[in-house]
């Protein structure tokens, strides 16, 4: 069991056996087709490449389509992802949510929601300045360094800028339920990304 590609479908809640409420994220995962096996001899590292999500053939380039045809896939697939490590998978194999079991701990990787250009208060959790007594220092970043020495701003100083829309991996996510019939994976709590965004789930 290496991993699977899926699409986040939204959140809801379930009741467990004791009747407690558990928040869950619904992920429509797989079926993923193995498109390539990378080996240490040939590619320098071991990995399994999988494809997920149908699309029109004309949405892909000819080299992309050819790559899929090589694996015996007739229709276009929108998403490819690579999972490091070997395993007993062969090109053309299908991976479904049945590869996961309830209660299993997985990691979920997605692209977080874009927040645009944000100030330091939202982006880095800086404290606000005073709001009264004539202060104009409400959401200012404060000092960014000393003066004549070092006479420059150190690299990596936390400032305002673009926030979100980056790859985020959530570790230790528990699988609450798998639904092989509808290709659904229900995991506890929130996962990165907006609804309908692509997420990659890896077993640990």
């Amino acid at each position: 069991m290496i991993g699977i590609i899926g699409r986040k479908r939204g959140m809801t809640q379930l009741f467990d056996d004791e009747g407690n409420v558990i928040p869950v994220t619904v992920i429509e995962a797989g079926p993923c087709v193995v498109t390539q096996i990378k080996t240490a001899e040939h590619d320098g590292y071991e990995a399994v490449q999988m494809a997920f999500g149908d699309c029109k053939d004309k949405a892909l380039s000819k080299p992309e389509l050819g790559h899929l045809h090589k694996a015996g896939i007739k229709h276009g697939k929108r998403h490819l992802a690579e999972f490091r490590g070997g395993g007993d998978l062969a090109v053309g194999d299908t991976v479904t949510v049945q590869a996961f079991s309830e209660g299993q701990s997985v990691t979920v990787t997605g692209v977080s929601k874009g927040k645009g250009f944000q100030g330091t208060v939202k982006r880095h959790n800086f404290a606000r300045g005073p709001e009264s007594h004539g202060s104009h220092n409400v959401r200012q970043p404060g000092s960014i360094g000393a003066s004549a020495y070092p006479a420059r701003v150190f690299k990596g100083m936390r400032m305002s800028g673009h926030m979100g829309s980056r790859t985020v991996t959530q570790l230790g996510v528990t699988v609450v339920r798998t639904d092989a019939e509808n290709n659904l994976l229900l995991v506890r709590g929130a996962v990165p990304g907006a609804t309908d965004s692509v997420v990659i789930i890896k077993g640990r």
Binding site: M11, T12, Q13, L14, G19, V21, V26, E28, N182, L186
Partner: protein, 140 residues
């Protein structure tokens, strides 16, 4: 919902309206299955009604049923996430308890009286004490 339902009337809780021809939303399907898990038939009630909630409590290994009686001051949320809050006076102190409407822990909900109120959220009861903290019963 009829304005004045008979005491103890049971509502079927149909799924959210979905336009004809659209496939059922994945989330809606899951919530529909989950709603079927509920411990009791849910009677029709609204804010202002006096309720008796039979709630399962686990103490260590023992399980017993706790009865909680009071006035429903609000119903909140939609679908599977809907909750209701019951307020009562306990030894002179106001106590509010919120239950998930579809919780399997709820064994039974009895509607003891239908209240005559003009609001959906009876937060004003929090400021009232004694006789004023009552809700008039609906006259039929």
């Amino acid at each position: 919902m009829p304005l004045c339902a008979a005491l103890g009337a049971v509502v079927a809780y149909p799924a959210r309206f979905v336009p004809k021809g659209t496939p059922l939303d994945i989330i809606e399907k899951i919530e529909r299955d989950e709603r079927a898990k509920r411990g009791a038939e849910i009677p029709e009630f609204k804010a202002g009604d006096t309720l008796k909630v039979h709630f399962k409590v686990v103490e260590g290994t023992r399980q017993r049923t706790q009865v909680y009686q009071g006035i429903c001051i609000k119903r909140q949320g939609a679908g599977l996430r809907e909750t209701f809050t019951v307020r009562k006076q306990s030894f002179g102190v106001g106590v509010e308890r919120t239950f998930p409407l579809f919780s399997p822990k709820i064994e039974k909900i009895d509607v003891l009286a239908i209240g005559d109120v003009r609001r959906a959220k009876l937060y004003y009861l929090r400021q009232k004490v004694g006789k004023q903290a009552r809700v008039r019963e609906k006259q039929r």
